[in-house]
Amino acid sequence: MGTHVIKMPDIGEGIAEVELSAWHVKVGDRVVEDQVLADVMTDKAMVDIPSPVHGKVIALGGKPGEVMAVGSVLISIEVEGAGNAKEVPATAASEPVPAAPVEAAAKPALPVAQAKPAAAPVAREGDERPLASPAVRKHALDAGIQLRLVQGSGPAGRILHEDLDAYLHQGSAKACMASTPYAERHDEEQIPVIGMRRKIAQRMQDATRRAAHFSYVEEIDVTALDELRVHLNEKHGATRGKLTLLPFIVRAMVVALREFPQINARYDDEAQVITRLGAVHVGVATQSDVGLMVPVVRHAEARSLWGSAEEIARLAAAARNSKASREELSGSTITLTSLGALGGIVSTPVLNLPEVAIVGVNRIVERPMVIKGQIVVRKMMNLSSSFDHRVVDGMDAAQFIQAIRGLLEQPASLFLE
């Protein structure tokens, strides 16, 4: 009998401490592989800690609510065999991916989780020369096999005649004989949906299940707006920072929402209450390494153009570096989503519940437009917005977007009070 120790994993957000929220086992319990042992919580996500082994719980490392350092002992499990008495990599607990079996020390307790090494063709790195005798090389040329795709079983990875025969019988050779340099792949990888990804998945599923989404797309002539933006950047860019289109759109939303308070709202469908808010807290959808995050520009209604721009840039950087605080990641009343140059022509954004509207920005393209009977080149941009039809009527949504359009096409009106 040995002891398998699981340490508090680094959940990958650059944090040193993790809050232990709940135990699913107690001392003396028998646990099986993949059974959830504990929930731990970071600022952004709740994470399950599953067991990588079969065995009996002999000690718990802390109490629920306790903040524990990453790397401290979370739980000790008595296992058959040697256990990992000395060291187990923290990842063994946080990433129980079958394709990456746990350390050798834990093997005796792992009856089935061993992933077979892929017998599929191996591609060698770069111009690395496959090691094979001249006879094997000639045989491969005759059979139309690219040796670099053949796994060598000999010393130093040397490809033997047997390896070539095995490769031929495997059938992959047929693909090669048809003179394709592309090998079939049979590997697969399982990624556990935990942490941020699980949170995103839950929220997206919740939003699409509960809200009655409808999307509304309108094209907007941003020629004048872009001219203004370029002009302001030329004049003030050096001192006040460069403006993107986003702060203008935030401004347009702020102005338009004065007329459409039903759109700057939160709908609590359990309590059946709609809360309209005076403040406009604009969530800005941002891609980070760990997934989608929505940091919030608070009180956009009180910010100048450059104030919004600066805040958007700051929050985006914070979110990307996983430095955004809980405060900065919650409390939005409406959301803005933009993929910039990747914006496409139309999107169907998913609502950030309990909000009732999300405005999506598509890319700007120059297009021939007919103005007063003349074909002229204009910079056009679509807005694809989604609303919760349970509480927002189509007419209101359309009028709201038309108001935004009017503001953006006549940019001076953004700043007229």
Binding site: R129, L131, A132, S133, R137, L141, D142, P155, A156, G157
Partner: protein, 459 residues
């Protein structure tokens, strides 16, 4: 103009590349015509590898006999020998004759049609020899290389190239060799042993500059012992009245008295004089550019051997020729040797196969380099030769051998073992675990591998 002859494969050049391609093509049933302007066997058989080895053998025997006549430790007592160089040259010519006749017989046996005459390319499928026109489906260019000439040393009279040096009328009293590469040293050492006072002028700061200093040191020591004078970092400026003008590293001009000057400053692809320009092929410097199948930039036109650039070695040309014939027969082939051995028949001999330590480092490999000296090899002692060593270069991570080098008497024959181990992908353990016959020079090969593994037995 007579009627045009049609064939599948036409080969220009009957040297080692061309004639081997022709033999293999014949074996594979490919209708083949080989055009040779001078003599079958090319430079190698007629004025290169083979005659030089014959002359080196004569020189070695003559020098050994001379040694014995001066009181040999071996106890052999003879009178001072004299040399009948005409007879030596006849003996050499007989060997050349036997080999070239053999090549002609082999070509005939494999039904290759040999056309004697100078080929002139018309286009990628047409070649003229005199007023005879040939049409082919595949054209193989194997015209070899020529000695590089120096403008201030035009060949003629006392100024000779390796060709003249291999058929001496008499041994000159004084010979200056221009060029300290392998051709210059092989011939320079032979002439020294035949009795000439030999000097070598080399522009770089050491002999055999293409090899590393450690490897060439035993050759440098031997030159010193033989009394060959070295003018390193000297460059030739002119020649007049049996005096060679050279500039020393300080810019001073020296005048060296001599009877003959041998120009051996390298070889260059033979691309002139047969209308190669008509094909407008992609070039790689002075050589024709080829891919891994020896294909030129023109479809169904191939180039092999020295014409396709470095390394200019007969055995490379032969392997390429064999491969091209198989390609044309419809087989899938690629010229992909693990290593092409290079041998210098100096005294002592020098062999390089695969990567040298510098080349391995340059390729980003972390390598073990280990050598075993012949001073600790019994067989070397019984050959009255103790200089030199065998050196192995192997990857540190998996002990895969990536290169061998050796210098010493008779090491040219070790190139076989070296080449085989590289082609078979041997690791140090494979060579260390192979029983090498005792007493042979080959034991040093095994010991070098053992030493790389940290347990040489005889050191």
């Amino acid at each position: 103009m007579t009627q045009t002859l049609h064939t599948t494969l036409l080969i220009i050049g009957g040297g080692p590349g061309g004639y081997v391609a022709a033999i293999r093509a014949g074996q594979l049933g490919i209708p083949t015509i080989l055009v040779e302007g001078q003599a079958l066997g090319g430079t190698c058989l007629n004025i290169g590898c083979i005659p030089s080895k014959a002359l080196i053998h004569v020189a070695e025997q003559f020098q050994q006999t001379g040694h014995h006549s001066q009181g040999s430790v071996l106890g052999i007592e003879v009178a001072a020998p004299t040399l009948n160089i005409q007879k030596s040259v006849e003996w050499k010519d007989a060997i050349v004759d036997r080999l070239t006749t053999g090549v002609a017989a082999l070509l005939k046996k494999h039904k290759v049609q040999v056309i004697h005459g100078w080929a002139r390319v018309v286009d990628g499928k047409t070649v003229e020899v005199g007023d005879q026109r040939f049409q082919c489906e595949h054209l193989l260019l194997a015209t070899g290389s020529k000695s590089v000439n120096l403008p201030m040393l035009p060949i003629g009279g006392p100024i000779i190239s390796s060709t003249e040096a291999l058929s001496p009328q008499q041994v000159p009293k004084r010979l200056i060799v221009v060029g300290g590469g392998y051709i210059g040293l092989e011939l320079g050492i032979a002439y020294r042993k035949l009795g000439a006072a030999v000097s070598v002028v080399e522009a770089q700061d050491r002999i055999l500059p293409e090899y590393d200093a450690e490897l060439t040191q035993p050759v440098a020591d031997s030159l010193k012992q033989l009394g060959v004078t070295l003018y390193l970092q000297h460059s030739v400026t002119g020649f007049a009245d049996n005096r060679l003008q050279v500039r020393d590293p300080n810019g001073e001009t020296l005048s060296l008295d001599t009877d003959q000057v041998l120009v051996a400053v390298g070889r260059t692809p033979n691309t002139r004089g047969w209308n190669l320009e008509a094909l407008n092929l992609d070039m790689n410097g002075a050589a024709i550019n080829i891919d891994s199948r020896c294909q030129t930039s023109m479809r169904n036109v191939y180039a092999i051997g020295d014409l396709s650039g470095e390394p200019m070695l007969a055995h490379r040309a032969m392997a390429q020729g064999e491969m091209v014939a198989e390609l044309i027969s419809g087989k899938s082939r690629e010229f992909n040797p693990a290593a092409i051995p290079a041998v210098c028949f100096t005294d002592p001999e020098l062999v390089v196969v695969g990567k040298t330590p510098e080349q391995a480092t340059a390729a980003g490999l972390d390598c073990i380099v280990s050598s075993f000296p012949f001073a600790a090899n019994g067989r070397a002692m019984t050959l009255a030769s103790k200089s030199g060593f065998v050196r192995v270069v192997a990857r540190r991570d998996n002990h895969l051998i990536v290169g061998w080098q050796a210098v010493g008497v008779g090491v040219s024959e070790l190139s076989t073992a070296f080449g085989l181990s590289l082609e078979m992908g041997a690791r140090l353990e494979d060579v260390a675990g192979t029983i090498h016959a005792h007493p042979t020079l080959g034991e040093a090969v095994q010991e070098a591998a053992l030493r790389a593994l940290g347990h040489a037995l005889h050191l």
